[in-house]
């Protein structure tokens, strides 16, 4: 039985870790793009609800 548990935990574990890593990569990039766009001449008035 522990093979089954091992199988499930390792497989889903990898998928879960990868999913979380994707989430963080996206957030980091979103912030970087926001910073670059804000740095550019802010043609449009800065968005009051500034991104997190």
């Amino acid at each position: 039985m522990n093979y089954v548990v091992a199988g499930y935990s390792i497989t889903l574990g990898i998928l879960f870790v990868y999913a979380v890593s994707l989430g963080f990569r996206r957030r980091r990039l979103a912030r970087a793009v926001a910073a670059v766009e804000a740095a550019r001449a802010p043609v449009t008035p800065p968005d009051p609800r500034s991104p997190q």
Partner: protein, 265 residues
């Protein structure tokens, strides 16, 4: 208004609250629903797979891995790499050429590589008790491994810095070469030596020997993993988009700097 993620799967916390630079409301909605659907269905598969469904007459509890391994394999081999090959073809076709396909192919390959790794791992874990070996030189296992190496090559080639369209074209070719090579490797390994019993899932009769509720769990497993794949694909695609936007921003600034270099012209 960060959503409180159910303990089972914090992937939900991912739903970025404000409409930051990355994403219209529609995108966040789809991501959120995909995330929830994926988490719930995966949780259900685990719950059904391990506790509810009966052990198999022959394999005992080992059969529970059947709810996971074929699902992961189906997503990795056919869904992910089929999508990558298709997207590469669309990029190469002059009329439909656009970086969208390139980003989609890149996303599909990266997520596909992760799923293929899981396929190999879960396959060998299943193989250990049934065949007594961690690794068997059987046709499907080996050609999956070759596929994994081919697409690691794709990712390695993609990391080389180059102008977006040049990189896209080179990656598209690499994906096509890999896709063309997979069937050849598959047949050559198949004739070479095969241990693997018939494709339990892929045969049209959907493996009658699996008991009613087991078949449903199996289906649920496949659906769950497909939804998870979809969620990861969309997020990875967004990452590709953001990277390109970042690159474009830097490019604009580089062009301005370059022109400034040329004096007041």
């Amino acid at each position: 208004m960060t959503t409180i993620a159910p303990p089972a799967d914090p992937r939900l916390a991912e739903g970025a609250p404000a409409t930051g630079p990355d994403g219209s409301a529609r995108l966040r909605a789809t991501l959120w629903t995909l995330g929830v659907l994926g988490a719930v269905s995966t949780g259900a598969t685990v719950w059904l797979g391990i506790w509810v469904t009966p052990p198999d007459k022959v394999q005992g509890n080992l059969v529970r891995l059947v709810y996971l391994h074929p699902g992961v394999a189906w997503v990795a081999l056919y869904l992910a790499f089929g999508l990558a090959a298709l997207a590469s073809l669309l990029y190469l076709w002059p009329r439909t050429r656009s970086l969208v396909w390139d980003r989609l192919a890149a996303a599909a390959v990266e997520v596909g590589v992760v799923f293929t790794a899981c396929t190999l791992i879960s396959g060998s874990i299943w193989g250990r008790p049934t065949w007594g070996v961690w690794w068997a030189w059987d046709a499907r296992l080996t050609s999956t491994a070759v596929l994994l190496v081919l697409f690691l090559g794709y990712l390695a080639l993609r990391r080389v810095p180059a102008e977006p369209h040049v990189r896209a074209r080179r990656s598209a070719f690499a994906a096509l070469f890999a896709a063309v090579d997979v069937p050849i490797v598959h047949f050559s390994v198949l004739w070479w030596r095969t241990l693997h019993q018939g494709a339990t899932v892929l045969n049209p009769t959907l493996s009658p020997e699996i008991h009613g509720s087991m078949a449903w769990t199996l289906l649920l497993g496949i659906v769950a993993l497909t939804v998870d794949f979809a969620w990861m694909l969309v997020v990875r695609y967004r990452i590709g988009l953001l990277e390109d936007r970042l690159g474009a921003e830097e490019l604009d600034r580089a062009i301005d700097a370059r022109r400034a270099e040329g004096g007041a012209a």
